[in-house]
């Protein structure tokens, strides 16, 4: 890899640069390879897929795959898509608001037991979420929420790490002077939060929203435990159900592959267009 830069000579510097960028390029090929396969495989019919020649353009059938996807089982796929948008969009919006409110309170107010309470939040970050799914399922069945939208929505409204991030963002985006000025103008505390604090911490809000949206969109275990009605499935669970049919019925392969590709697109678009926000989120998490 890199030889010491102190060694004089253009050649060794050139070699080091090639080695460094070559290694990075190889790792990028590794991360992009399955995605490229997914794109080309989505254009294949069953026969084309099973011949293992996904990279050639033989048997280009994307249009047919898409219409299959739209019509199969009365278009249940797009129902799952809407469900995923609802779970992820609604859940992430509420979660971000709840997190930002709590983070703001932790940052801007002094009250007794504050750091102890914040310690509880940090401990919450470490709880393995899959261990909670089973007791949550049993509790939900007691109150009659199993197999409803709520059973998947309520648990994802909470993200202790979002509170941690929000506190960091609140400290860096909202100067105390701005709040003091609002108070002098006679604004109440909650009004100050709503009209000044929330607006100033907006970039942080978007970051928490983006990460929670991703987490919910990608969530699989919780819906697997909670839902049995296909109409309530998010994409992840629906594709899983289809995949379990592929062995008996290979014609499910194009459905799963094309469906997977469409399911990945919104997040890729979000991450490419909101680069500043996820970079800020990961930076805020890492520096402390």
């Amino acid at each position: 890899m890199t030889s010491p830069a102190a060694i004089p000579g253009q050649r060794s510097r050139w070699l080091s640069r090639t080695a460094v960028n070559g290694t990075l390029l190889l790792s990028v090929l590794y991360t992009l390879f399955p995605l490229v396969w997914l794109v080309t495989a989505a254009t294949k019919d069953t026969g084309g897929l099973l011949s293992g020649e996904a990279f050639s353009f033989k048997g280009f059938d994307l249009g047919h795959n898409l219409s299959q996807l739209a019509s199969y089982n009365d278009g249940v796929y797009f129902r799952w898509y809407l469900n995923s948008l609802l779970y992820a969009g609604g859940g992430a919006a509420v979660c971000a608001l709840v997190s930002v409110a709590a983070g703001y309170a932790f940052d801007k107010y002094a009250f007794r037991g504050k750091e102890k309470l914040f310690g509880v939040v940090l401990l919450g970050v470490l709880v393995p979420t899959t261990a909670l799914a089973l007791p949550m399922y049993l509790l939900a069945s007691k109150v009659g929420l199993v197999n409803t939208y709520w059973s998947v929505l309520i648990p994802v409204l909470v993200n202790p790490f979002g509170v941690y991030l929000s506190r960091v963002f609140s400290a860096s985006y909202i100067p105390d002077e701005a709040l003091e000025a609002a108070r002098i103008d006679g604004a109440g505390e909650l009004r100050t939060f709503w009209s000044i604090g929330l607006r100033m911490v907006m970039p942080g809000f978007v970051t928490v929203f983006l990460f929670q949206f991703t987490a919910i969109w990608n969530n699989f275990f919780l819906p697997l435990v909670m839902l049995s009605d296909q109409k309530l499935f998010p994409l992840s669970l629906g594709l899983y159900a289809w995949n379990s049919n592929t062995h008996a019925e290979p014609s499910y392969y194009p459905l799963v592959v094309t469906g997977s590709l469409l399911a990945v697109i919104p997040l890729i678009v979000a991450f490419v267009s909101l680069q500043r926000h996820w970079r800020a989120g990961l930076a805020a998490g890492s520096v402390k």
Binding site: T2, S3, A5, I7, S16, R17, V20, T23, L24, S27, V28, L35, W37, A41, L50, G52, F55, V98, A101, A102, Y104, F106, K108, Y109, A110, F111, L126, V127, P128, T129, A131, L132, L134, P135, Y137, I154, P155, L157, V158, D176, R183, I184, E189, L190, T214, F220, V225, L239, Y240, N243, V256, V264, L267, I268, F271, R279, A283, G285, S286, V287
Partner: protein, 339 residues
């Protein structure tokens, strides 16, 4: 200084504008301006306390409902067993059984084997992940790297792919007939079976690495970028090369992110479930329905309907996670003290 204490700390004189406006608005009573002001100050203290309460309540109510209560309920459940009454008529009743579920789980070979599988997975996966992400971040942060934004984005993209889809795609890439990789390997004379007993662990590790490598790399990279550049310049002036700077200066300075990534990786690894589940679906006979402790708990709950056993195994897994988190924090702290 916190806003809640500002007014109280300004002393007896009503010299803040807020106090003055407040005083001007109160009705003319035979009290001095100073006393009025102190009363508004106290009211402000109460108001901020109430505001903090209002802002914190939604989070803590939800947190209690979906974290604290389920933990308590899992502990409670793990102490009971369902007993069929009489000949099985009249349904099942819950009977307190102490630690029976725990001894049953620990006494079950399948559960213990699950922990061994998990241990093997952690031993391979965690060092590969942490070292790999760190190495890539250091390369990207070195003065030699080009196109940094592109590399960062391209490496991060797998995070946008749901775990289940990542697992599906990789399992298809492992499947003979479907996979161009297996085809290419076969024509190159390499016959590797990703579903064989020896191939399963690497197959699972690869999927998890692919999903999280870039994510963790970006965390390290962000920490590296936050290092004061003058420190690095000083090191270069003193004749330290890229290697020396990376390991002697950069690494100790990003210890906090190292702890965080290690913690999250450990906790994530212990919950291993999705990838082996898909591998099992894809036709691997090595991956049984109780291959990892999490799969064991899932099977106990939803195939055997033994909630007590499932709860006990979930609690044991959570305990293992807590223990390992503690060890990681301890180890990294000690390393820090020495450095």
């Amino acid at each position: 200084m916190r806003p809640g204490t500002t007014a109280a700390d300004t002393g007896p004189h009503p010299d803040t504008a807020a106090a003055r406006t407040a005083a001007a608005h109160t009705e003319g009573a035979p009290v001095t301006a100073a006393r009025k002001a102190s009363r508004t100050r106290r009211a402000r203290g109460r108001a901020t306390g109430a505001a903090a309460g209002v802002l914190l309540t939604p989070f803590f109510v939800l947190f209690t409902a979906v974290t604290v209560v389920p933990i308590g309920y899992a502990l409670w459940l793990s102490l009971f067993t369902e007993k069929q009454s009489g000949l099985g008529f009249g349904g099942a009743t819950s009977v307190f059984s102490g630690l029976d579920n725990y001894t049953a789980a620990l006494g079950d070979r399948a559960f213990r084997e699950g922990f061994w599988v998990l241990a093997g997975y952690c031993v391979v996966y965690i060092p590969l992940m942490v070292a790999g992400a760190l190495a890539l971040a250091l390369l990207l942060d070195s003065t030699l790297a080009r196109a940094r934004r592109f590399f960062q984005l391209a490496l991060f993209l797998p995070h946008a792919v749901p775990g289940i889809i990542a697992a599906l795609v990789w399992v298809y890439l492992y499947t003979p007939g479907l996979s161009p990789v297996v085809k290419a390997m076969n024509s190159g004379g390499i016959g590797f079976d990703f579903f064989s007993s020896g191939g399963t662990l690497p197959s699972v590790v690869n999927i998890a690495l692919w999903e999280w490598l870039g994510y963790n790399m970006v965390i390290f990279y962000a920490a590296l970028q936050a290092i004061d550049r003058s420190v690095l310049e000083a090191a270069t002036m003193d004749g330290a090369g890229e290697w020396r700077t990376a390991f002697g200066i950069k690494l100790p300075l990003i210890r906090a992110s190292l702890v965080m990534v290690s913690l999250f990786t450990v906790i994530g690894s212990l919950q291993l479930f999705t990838e082996p589940l898909i591998l099992n679906q894809g036709g691997s006979s090595t991956v049984t329905s109780t291959w990892t402790p999490n799969m064991y708990a899932y099977t106990a709950a939803f195939s055997r309907n033994d909630y007590g056993l499932a709860a006990a195994s979930a609690v044991l897994l959570a305990l293992a996670a807590a223990l390992l988190s503690f060890v990681v924090t301890r180890l990294t702290n000690r390393k820090g003290a020495k450095a």
